[in-house]
């Protein structure tokens, strides 16, 4: 018999490229970014420090929001579009509280206890809001096709945006600047101010507590079990519904904390800010590996750095007009070529 040419399967994009090309391209990209950063560092070191510090601070906030996406995705495999808007409403609540408590001139112990009180209130508010959303919009759809809860998530996001719009109007709501903005230390002619440090000082313990909660406690174990296999964990006596509600509670509380920090640090908030920042934070979660908690924080830092450097650096920089495009392009590249993210082990959707 004549030998027949073996028929190859339909080529896909990844299948057509030799295996080493994708990593090589990635190396090239990373190399170019490093050169870009290096040249900029040599040209304007003080600018570089300043942007780095801004990126670090924003990254902490993005990380907090990204954690919420990551937690929920880990357990339900649902992109909770409404998460960013929960964050936004939290920020608006803080804006209201700051003005109605009259905190503008306070300082010292009064200020700190009030900020702590606001933190508790806003975390509780967002936690309850997020859990309610799960109860209303997602729980009934637990057995529905997977895109059904995704569509209700978009619907909830629109509803919450509308609430924000009606509550505070279409213009940005400014928040009185109550965080101290004095100098902590100076590096290369750039002063590191207290407000930035406070954001980090709030974020780090929250992250550590979350890690402890998920890794060490009984409830965290239940969450991880539910994320792995809902049926099996139900058979093991885990109350799946309660565990999912708890996850939404935690995610909402994180969004509330992020909302407080954002409102106090950026000092203004608008109704569509939550959606925009939510998309960025979701990108951060994907970049880090969705479902992976340290990955979410790392992704948040990375995205914030990209954003800050792209907005501020001068040499060969696309500029702030393109920041969003760059972030989404990164999201698309990561999803297409490495859906498990940079750190991710849990692969919900292998390529």
């Amino acid at each position: 018999m004549a030998t027949q040419a073996r028929r190859l399967p339909l080529p896909t994009l990844a299948g057509r490229l030799p295996q080493y090309i994708a990593p090589a391209l990635a190396m090239l990209l990373v190399g170019m970014v490093i050169i870009w950063l290096g040249v900029n560092f040599i040209k304007t070191p003080s600018e570089f420090y300043r942007l780095f510090l801004i990126g670090l601070t924003n990254g902490a906030i993005y990380g907090l929001v990204a954690l919420g996406y990551s937690l929920v995705y880990g357990i339900l495999e649902l992109i909770n579009f409404a998460h960013g808007d929960v964050f936004m409403l939290g920020g608006m609540l803080v804006a209201t509280m700051v003005s109605s408590f009259g905190l503008a001139g306070d300082s010292g112990l009064v200020l700190w206890s009030m900020i702590l009180l606001m933190l508790v209130i806003v975390m509780a508010f967002c936690a309850v809001l997020n859990t309610t959303i799960e109860l209303v919009a997602y729980r009934r759809l637990r057995h529905a096709p997977r895109l059904a809860p995704l569509i209700t998530a978009i619907g909830m996001s629109f509803i919450l945006q509308n609430v924000g719009l009606v509550w505070k109007g279409a213009r940005p709501t400014s928040v009185d600047s109550i965080l101290p903005r004095g100098e902590v230390f100076t590096i290369g002619g750039v002063t590191y101010t207290w407000d930035k440090l406070i954001v980090l000082l709030f974020t780090v313990p929250v992250l550590l507590m979350l890690m402890w909660l998920v890794q060490k406690t009984r409830q965290g174990k239940a969450m991880r079990a539910t994320a792995q296999d809902r049926d099996a964990s139900a058979m093991m006596g885990i109350n799946v519904n309660r565990t999912i509600s708890f996850t939404f509670l935690i995610a909402g509380a994180l969004a509330g904390a992020a909302g407080l920090l954002y409102a106090l640090y950026i000092t203004n908030i608008r109704y569509d800010e939550g959606f925009r920042l939510g998309l960025i934070a979701f990108t951060a979660a994907v970049v880090g590996g969705i479902g992976n908690l340290p990955g979410a924080v790392l992704g948040g830092l990375l995205i914030a750095m990209i954003e800050s450097f792209n907005n501020g650096l001068s040499w060969a920089t696309p500029g702030s007009d393109w920041t969003q495009s760059i972030i989404f392009a990164l999201l698309i590249i990561i999803l297409v070529f490495r859906p498990e993210g940079l750190l991710g082990e849990q692969v919900p959707e292998g390529g």
Partner: protein, 466 residues
């Protein structure tokens, strides 16, 4: 009495079908008439229009020979003659008068887009959250090829353009050519976006399309100085205008009486003054009919059945020899094609294109139309699309005015537009996921009790998921 086209032996069956529908429809009609008379007074148009609708609904047309053509042809006839009787129609309680012809043009265009998206979401089951990118692509194609925009940077090209000074700067290609070019161009963009991303499933695909949908308007907004080269591609935030109106040119206009160009057109036809808006409306209707025809034929074709197979069970479809990538890419291309045509025509109707028209809201707005009407069903999508586009253009304002007038309140109803669409999405998904008019196949899927736990509809993953 014999009914023409109905065999004598089926008469009893016919009556059996007719009677309950007549009773049900009659009760609804009488209730409707009473309601309208109480709130806005009596008009003959109320009785006539209700009688027509009742006749369309109650008579089992499908039993009569050629009867299945009655409902579509009457519907088309009613749509075509709409500008003639619109002024005589009654006022609907709460909603106010029927939509103006101007609004009807927008409605028709949005229905076209919804039908395009329906191919992607409804037939193939791929959630596309960035459909606005295709709309934008179509609109900008029209802006590039039929406006003075490239006059300074590239040069002047005139190909069959009408209503434009032959010396005018910029590219001026006949809008009819531009519509086709926009469709093809957008289809190619759809393929380009689809090739790398369609390997992803479910929500990852949704988020990637969302990414493209966000990048596109940003390119439009910043494209006046593309990559620092100084080349003005999109004219930035000001947008590109004016875009040429459609038209047939002096020669054809001389022979046939068709409008030379739509903007300056003015004539009297069958006792009514016809302006540009009416011509725009009829052209949009023609495009819509073309879209509906293509959509229905595509659905019943080999390709369409492959889409539905992929929607219901991707793995099984692949096992049956359906090439997944190629089939999905075609769904994307087809959806994008109609989105592009609709976008180009809309740009020509509005006379300009602006980057702020292409926000994520529009993607969700069009998705809302598809979901409200019933994913996969063309007639449902037409209904959902028309209703939502009407709400967006006129309805919310009318409702607001009505409420404020009668209750003495001061509610700005259009402010709640976002929230209303959000509520529609949530409520539909929770209580009637198959839409107002579900396709027969979808309905069967949702009614199968034992199939509820399976993920057959959009996405297939290993094993049952709780």
């Amino acid at each position: 009495m014999n009914i023409p086209g109905l065999p004598r032996e089926r008469r009893a069956e016919f009556d059996r079908e007719l009677r309950p529908r007549l009773i049900k429809g009659g009760i609804v009609s009488v209730a409707w008439i009473v309601l309208v008379i109480i709130f806005s007074g009596f008009t003959t148009s109320l009785i006539i229009s209700t009688a027509i609708l009742l006749a369309l609904y109650a008579v089992p047309w499908e039993m009569i020979r050629y009867g299945k053509w009655v409902v579509p042809s009457v519907a088309i006839l009613l749509a075509i003659t709409y500008p003639y009787y619109r002024d005589d129609l009654y006022e609907v309680p709460l909603f106010g008068p029927f939509p103006s012809v101007d609004t009807a043009v927008t409605m028709t265009i949005f229905i076209m887009m919804a039908i395009g998206l329906n191919i992607v979401v409804g037939y193939a089951g791929l959630l596309d959250l960035g459909y606005v990118a295709f709309y934008a692509m179509g609109a900008y194609t029209a802006a590039w090829f039929a406006s003075p925009h490239f006059g300074e940077s590239v040069g002047n090209v005139h190909v069959g353009s009408v209503g434009v000074n032959p010396e005018a700067a910029g590219f001026h290609v006949s809008i009819w050519v531009v519509l086709i070019v926009a469709g093809i161009f957008t289809g190619i963009i759809g393929i380009l976006i689809g090739l790398p991303t369609l390997r992803l499933r479910g929500d990852y695909l949704a988020i990637v399309t969302l990414g493209f949908g966000e990048i596109m308007p940003q390119i439009a907004r910043n494209g006046d100085n593309l990559f620092g080269t100084g080349f003005n591609l999109t004219n930035g935030a000001q947008g590109i205008n004016p875009i040429d109106p459609p038209g047939f040119g002096a020669a054809i206009a001389g022979w046939t009486g068709l409008p030379e160009d739509y903007l300056s057109f003015n004539s009297t036809f069958l006792g009514k003054e016809i302006g540009g808006v009416e011509v725009f409306y009829w052209t949009a209707l023609g495009l819509l009919l073309f879209t509906v025809f293509c959509s229905v034929r595509l659905r019943d074709s080999r390709l369409g059945r492959a889409w539905i197979a992929i929607r219901e069970d991707e793995t099984a479809a692949a096992a049956m020899g359906v090439p997944l990538m190629r089939t999905k890419t075609w769904a994307y291309a087809a959806g994008a094609f109609f989105g592009g045509i609709a976008g180009a025509y809309y740009a020509s109707f509005k006379g300009g294109t602006f980057p702020d028209d292409f926000f994520f809201n529009i993607s969700v707005f069009i998705l809302c139309m598809v979901i409200l009407g019933g994913m996969g069903n063309v007639w449902g999508v037409i209904l959902g699309g028309g209703f939502l586009a009407y709400l967006n253009q006129e309805g919310l304002g009318n409702i607001g005015a009505e409420i404020n007038e009668n209750l003495g309140t001061n509610i700005d109803v259009p402010l709640y537009q976002f929230g209303i669409f959000g509520v529609i999405l949530v409520v539909m998904m929770l209580f009637r996921p198959e839409g107002l008019i579900p396709s027969a196949r979808r309905k069967a899927e949702f009614e199968l009790e034992d199939a509820v736990d399976e993920e057959y509809l959009y996405d297939v993953r290993g094993g049952p998921v709780n």
